[in-house]
Symmetry: C2
Subunit: 354 residues, 2 copies
């Protein structure tokens, strides 16, 4: 499969979409990208599995990372891509081959950007963290991700979304004592004991802290509940799985301490945790970027791979074409206007034509 990096972003997005690349099956698209960027003299290209790193080595004062994942969620009768007057439809158009196309175009057409750029095209973002190409790279070659600033080209409605909220899942357990339900006064019902936990969730007032001028919005929600032994037995355990989305002014440790406080008196078990990312808009590279794209910045509520950059000490933002609410939906599409505006703003920031 041949990718034409000189074609406009809409065409290139369509070419990328038509190469199936469900997570775990990215060899074909990685081959195509490797072939397309490998022929460019101004880039140093390295491949790790199906993850590609292409760097300019111009000795600029600043280095920035521009990254995007090349995998998609499973097919849902939504290939090949379908172009209308205003939008490109199909699996991966929104999440996130539109962003990948724009990054590839920048890599090919900007041989001498005003900042050194590390382009990262990575595998397995849609599956478990251990397989995530960006995570693996951060473990095996963290030096390749060193930078002053990073842009993750995930769909963000063509507006900068800065930082991201952290996410933690804890199981809150209530205990009881089994008894035959015909003689229920001999036992203690653990499901009834969950009333207090759910009441605390109902009464909880999520914080909305303002950080770097952005208002975040926390959330604390039960996402699973289970309990029960048999239809005639008082249950001795009930498990409430709670998802805490926390603003970037809290570390994972602080988030956990807060959970212990909210569920004081109950046993809790952490089943999942990922840190938040500070917006980091005060560093010069970020400020220049925000100015170049017109100054509008929104907070990012969902967790994204920007947090992986944050862990490495690199401020990062989401900035890409497409409505994030369409990600993973059968009817996903990307507006052509987004592809064009995001590309133009990125080129401006990287000094195209200057």
């Amino acid at each position: 499969m041949h990718l034409d990096l000189s074609a406009e972003a809409v065409t290139l997005t369509q070419q990328l979409v038509d190469i199936e690349s469900v997570s775990g099956d990215e060899a074909a698209i990685a081959d195509a990208i490797e072939k397309a960027v490998g022929g460019l003299d101004h880039l140093t290209v390295q491949r790790f599995g199906n993850t590609l790193v292409a760097r300019t080595e111009l000795g600029r004062d600043e280095r920035v990372v521009i990254a995007g994942h090349i995998d998609t969620v499973p097919l849902n009768d939504n290939l090949p891509a379908r172009l209308t007057d205003t939008d490109l439809h199909g699996l991966g158009t929104c999440d996130m081959k539109g962003g990948v196309a724009i990054a590839l175009r920048a890599a090919a057409t900007l041989p001498s950007p005003n900042r050194d750029v590390t382009y990262v095209f990575y595998e397995c973002e849609e599956v478990e963290a251990e397989r995530n190409g960006l995570f693996k790279l951060s473990q095996s070659h963290p030096e390749l991700l060193e930078a002053d600033f990073a842009i993750l080209m995930e769909p963000s409605d063509a507006v900068v979304e800065a930082g991201c909220q952290g996410t933690m899942r804890v199981d809150v357990l209530t205990r009881g004592e089994r008894a035959h339900s015909a003689r229920s006064w001999k036992g203690v019902n653990a499901i009834h004991g969950a009333a207090e936990v759910l009441t605390r969730l109902n009464d909880y007032e999520p914080r909305r802290p303002v950080i770097d001028g952005l208002e975040f919005h926390e959330g604390l929600n039960a996402v699973f509940i289970s309990g029960g032994v048999a239809g005639n037995v008082l249950p001795d355990e009930c498990r409430i799985s709670v998802n805490y989305r926390f603003a970037p002014d809290r570390s994972e440790e602080e988030a956990l301490a807060h959970m212990r406080e909210v569920f004081d008196g109950y046993e809790i078990e952490v089943s999942d945790s990922a840190p938040a990312a500070m917006p980091g808009l005060s560093v010069p590279a970020a400020a220049a970027f925000v100015e170049a794209v017109g100054g509008t910045v929104n907070p990012k509520f969902g967790w994204t791979d920007v947090a992986r950059f944050s862990v490495l000490g690199v401020p990062a933002v989401n900035f890409g074409p497409g409505d994030p609410h369409l990600a993973h939906k059968q009817e996903e599409f990307v507006p052509l206007a987004h592809l064009r505006s995001v590309e133009a703003q990125l080129h401006t920031w990287l000094g195209a034509g200057s």
Copy 2:
């Protein structure tokens, strides 16, 4: 396998226990019982599957049913029977071959009881209702169960337990609206909505009505709870399965109406229902029985097959050797003293030696 109905109840119980008869596999024990009672001239014996009905036809003013199931729960390394100075141990000793042995002994050794007796030895009590031999008989030959009074020889600590509470299971549903948990304010959490349902359960005050001089004790308990879509999604449904144990002054219809009242405002689905049984101690045959066994009567909290007699208009009680709490336990046993006292009381009531 030969059963010696002239042996004392302990020996006969041991013989019955040593014939394995897990539900669905009662042919051998039914054959042995059929052979043993089939040779008795004073009884008319009929067989339906592995259920046996043996009747005296003496033209007495009253007819009573004496019934027991011949199946057991699965083996649990607790056969053959083991006799100590005070107890007989092993699968089915308590639930309920001790009671079956006493009934068989009465059938064999009381050729001319003061009341006509219908002995019923039935299959598949420990499994689903559709396979229950007593249920099947009540459907196919209800005339064979016509009587003034019935005794079910289930373990009751050798004391009369009268009536039984009904049982109903309803699923209470709470509804919400899905949303990504990173933007929880866009949805409605159905698990959080269950707080109110659980609070009603916690606040519920079960009735303890006195019926025929017996204090019953109702119960309302969540036995299962479930809800959840994914770790990052606000759930749109939560299901709380509630078991209502109701006293025999309520019909199933009244019990359901009460559930609708308790869970007013919520959708409910009935998943299971079985009626209660009135103690029925005021009918002459029952009063005479209670007097013969010494006057002590307790209410029955758990559901048993006495309710099947109640449906047929026959007052019924539980009266048998063994502690009902040992039923289905590996270590079940029956005290020899129970076997002897229950047998003596039954014989007295049926006019032995008078």
